[in-house]
């Protein structure tokens, strides 16, 4: 029991060390459309983004399912995007946002790993009808982020 408490305290300390990053809303749309690119234009990270999202799909054992890829909206002018609103009505700022219209919204210059997280929301929504905004699914641990417990990490 003491060890459990110790683990909890350690994880809280590690998380607390990263709290306090100032988030500023990105407001200008740089790219909007298909994940792989539109008819006339694509974007520099398109191939890596598609690869990442398909990795997540495979990790979630949905590789055989014929679900469409999410769409993407790249924003600039800040390091976060508006994603819903807080209790007081102010916009909620996040590093990435998935909406059930199938769009992933992320700021320009964000870490590629954010795509993995948002793709978990997308594939969950396509497979279960629930995008799991509260992150209760284990797939957020096992299939997204820099470390993965159930899929190749390279």
């Amino acid at each position: 029991m003491r060890a459990t408490k110790l683990l909890f305290i350690i994880s809280l300390l590690i998380m607390a060390s990263c709290v306090g990053k100032d988030l500023t809303p990105a407001t200008e749309v740089v790219y909007q459309g298909e994940l792989i690119g539109n008819e006339d234009f694509t974007y520099a990270s398109a191939a890596k983004v598609v690869e990442k999202c398909l990795e997540v799909k495979s990790c979630m054992e949905l590789g055989q399912e014929d679900y469409p890829l999410p769409k993407i909206r790249g924003m600039r002018g800040g390091n976060a995007v508006e994603c819903g609103s807080n209790d007081d009505g102010t916009p909620k700022l996040k590093l990435g946002c998935y909406t059930t219209d199938g769009y992933i919204t992320v700021p320009q210059g964000a870490d590629l790993e954010i795509i993995s997280h948002e793709c978990v929301h997308h594939w969950l929504y396509k497979s279960t009808g629930d995008a799991d905004p509260l992150h209760s699914s284990n797939y957020f641990l096992s299939c997204s982020g820099g470390l993965s417990l159930t899929e190749d990490s390279e």
Binding site: L7, T42, A44, K48, V106, Q108, D111, L147, S153
Partner: protein
């Protein structure tokens, strides 16, 4: 002490070699987190078995220790993912790139 060590050496040496080989597999083996985690759990389980064997203890506490280690691995992984400590340094770039129509129409 040395006498005792020599006595148990035939049993102890294969266990040490096996543990080293298991550790080597964790470090250099397949890069699947799931497999690595199970190997780490096996190593810890073997070490606990060995300890219990030589100290003539039962293994009541083993399951608790293994559960704690498993939880610890999960907490560490999720914490690192949450904080982005091992996040890739690759950044998203939405700089528009025109699609070369000619290239995509080749062969049609």
């Amino acid at each position: 002490m040395w006498k005792e060590l020599f006595r148990i050496a035939p049993e102890l040496i294969p266990i040490i070699i096996q543990t080293v080989m298991d550790l080597e597999q964790v470090v250099t083996g397949i890069k699947r987190g799931e497999i690595r985690k199970s190997r780490v759990m096996n190593i810890i389980s073997n070490i606990l078995d060995t300890k219990d064997y030589f100290l003539k203890q039962d293994s009541d506490g083993q399951m608790e220790i293994l559960n704690l280690v498993s939880m610890f691995v999960d907490v560490i992984v999720s914490t690192f993912n949450y904080t982005g400590l091992f996040a890739s340094s690759e950044k998203l770039d939405f700089t528009p790139i025109p699609v070369e129509q000619g290239a995509s129409n080749e062969g049609n």
